[in-house]
Amino acid sequence: MRYIPNSDIDRKQMLAGIGVTSIDELFSGIPEKLRLRRFLDLPKPLTEPELVDYFQTRAAKNSVGETAFIGAGIYRHYIPIIIDALISRSEFYTAYTPYQAEIAQGTLQAIFEFQTYIAQLTGMEVANASLYDGATGVAEAILMAQRISKKHKFLIAKTVHPEYRAVVDTYARNLGIQIELIDYAADGRVDMEKLEQQSSADVAAVIVQSPNFFGAIEHTHDISELVHRRGGLSIVNVCEAISLGILKPPGQDPSEQRTADIVVGEGQSFGVAPSFGGPHVGFLATRERYVRQMPGRLVGMARDYAGKSGFVLTLSTREQHIRREKATSNICTNQSLCALMATIYLATVGPKALREIAEHNILKTDYAANEITKRTRHRVMFPAPRFNEFVVEVSGECPYGLPLSRFYPELGNAALVCVTETARRKDIDAMVQRLAA
């Protein structure tokens, strides 16, 4: 086998060195009766040329060429080529978790930079080294808020990504957590009146998403203020990270009352491929005072004993390998390489192009929604300002976007349409034309 260096000759020498005559003897610890007495029933081994053929054939069976205008948490943004060139270096992608700081400074510094970028973008004080994805990120944020508040009731907007809410349900179910939904208003945003009504003193935290699942931009600062007034924590989920390039971040406001306590989200939009759903990269940012309640790894600045400065994994007493069942989370392996992609993405686009990209998303989405309104008989729902998605009510099946009936049966035949900067006007026009037909 080409991935196994030792040949028969090597093996014989090693067996002799050990003082046994066959490899089988080394398995003496496994009781005979538990041994498999046949070969596994697997496809016959393929050579490299055959593997290439196998996977190219399967890849060709996914039709990804044509824009489908689907977003819903996974966005097709342009990915600068240098990202793949850099993360393809063995130094990055084949290294382990940087527990041995002296020979992992590259990874450590990059994660520190990721943490800083996320803090800057969300307007928060600190961010962690990544979580599995946005969905588990929201779940972790809820567990974190439970630890901080010692309260167990959570209000979650119905316009938070339905799969995220499903994951929250799975995580929360056995931890005495009670979840209540907040409905959306006619404009597609959180219904502030209902929120006000539901925000009782026993509410640990309120979770909203902005831009929300319908693409609408929430008034997260007003929400944070309201929640804080009621003694709860404010958790904001950002599924479409590009929006942070132009929208006022949940963590930024002159008044601490109006800022979120935890901003959690999905960083896939920052240079990570859709890849049929993963791997992507969750992030979680918070206030400095909650650091010791954070889930996941953290990299901090450090010095060696001679005073030279560098980086190291720190505050690991929160983590499972030290605290075991008392850890803030069970997470171990995280999404480091995707965090690196996001870091390189942010370094490459910088604040200006990030804002321009965000603008193009807004303008193209606005254009698409207006064109559909103007030129088709379909209704674009929810008037609230949008980032790069909107809901359109169609008659019959919509050949674009995500049908919403599975998640929001009350919306009937609606579809969630996403328009990013990668959609060319001619693609949008073609969609409008087809919808008009």
Binding site: Y3, I4, N6, Q13, G17, L26, G29, L34, L36, F39, L40, L42, K44, P45, L46, R58, N62, S63, V64, G73, L86, E91, A95, Y96, T97, Q100, A101, E102, I103, T107, Q109, E113, T116, Y132, D133, G134, H161, E163, V167, S275, G278, P279, V299, V312, T314, Q320, R323, T333, N334, Q335, L337, C338, I344, L346, A347, T348, G350, P351, L363, R425
Partner: protein, 495 residues
Amino acid sequence: MTGSARTSNHFSLNEPVIFEEGSPGRRGFDLPELDVPARALNDIIEPGLIRDGITGMPELSEVDVVRHFIRLSTWNYHIDLGLYPLGSCTMKYNPKINERMARLEGFALAHPYLPSERIQGALEIQKTLETCLAEISGMDAVTLQPAAGAHGELTGILMIRAYHESRGNPRKKILIPDSAHGTNPASAAISGYIVETVPSNKRGTVDLDRLAELVNKDVAAIMITNPNTLGVFESDIAKVAELLHSQGALVYMDGANLNAMMGITRPGDFGVDVLHINLHKTFTTPHGGGGPGSGPVAVKEILEPYLPYPVIGQNSQSDYFFDNDRPQSIGKIKAYNGHFGMHVRALCYILANGAEGLKEVSEIAVLNANYIREKLKKAYALAYESPTLHEVVFSDRLQARKDVHVWDIGKRLIDYGFHPPTVSFPLIVPGAIMIEPTETESKQELDSFIDAMLTIAKEAEENPEIVKTAPHTTRIGRIDEAAAARRPVLRWRPD
């Protein structure tokens, strides 16, 4: 002497954090011109929702970015450089073809919400991988949804809980051997269970008698690692399973060490009801400097109804589809259906090997580990005498007499051009040195490692100071971790 025959000193470039670089006006990316009518943003979005700017975010050219990350990269040790003998981590060579295949456009750009007729290729890949993993582990059904090992544990325990709940009582406790990885108790805890520790006997395996005392109707399951974290096969595993099953409890296996047994023995054949598999260990998906991984969970039929949804169905025309109609499912554990990019890589590896290849993998992994064991067992104290499979655990007992500890030995190995083994784990071995070479190391590389270890043992006797102050050949010396944790600086700020 501070270096070794394996290494030479060479300069490497320094590099500040990225926020100290660049200069206003630099650009690393240009956007195609807007091809729809430009409207004033304020006409679309309330001005109050627009941010001012992003304080501290640097402006860089493409060249600046490339140089920055290239320089950083050169500070890392990695699997393509040499042996990475982290016990329990299975740091094996990551075949280059895996990376290429995962990047095929048809995979990289696929969206899970596309209509199923547009994603048949991706679904076939996932289904095929499930089938292979079921066969390798001897189980009946597989979910690919969990993001990593710990996530798989959570998934598995939640399924156990759902199983018990369906029988009217979720039960209270999960039993976990004292040699277990930290994620095991952590995952059990988030699943709402109390953790009870099962002690190991002097062979390093689960103490059956003590276990018998602990098992009762409050116990939902045992979480057992096999071979365990000492590299020792739980030879009483069948009895363990019987014991649990006799009380209606289930057996969860931490499959982190599957690399020791492929084609040799199967969890499904020795009583395991559910296990997770780390694709980033056994199945060569890269570790990525900490992730992403992938932690599929394989189950016996009794647990199948509880799998997270979607499962991949096949209709009468043999077309694949995501089946979300799973009333007994524990729900979703992650958005979408797992780390597909890792699934492609793992399947690529399995197909490259086939049944004989995977068996050879395990055989040589065990051969390599035992070769190290044999060559080092005089110089380092074996933690347990039991036969070990794919990894071997020593203690620093002999070296500790000179106040040289496991951490020192690991750091000194760096000077000899090696990544240190896993240190101080498993917790039941004081000063544990846990070595897992994997099958992708050559005899030459192992011999060179053995030489280094023997030299260090000698240094520990003759010149302990050089070991205790190691490493001496790295761009930064040993870090003061306590100081870093005392006043954590977790982000860059302008001075």
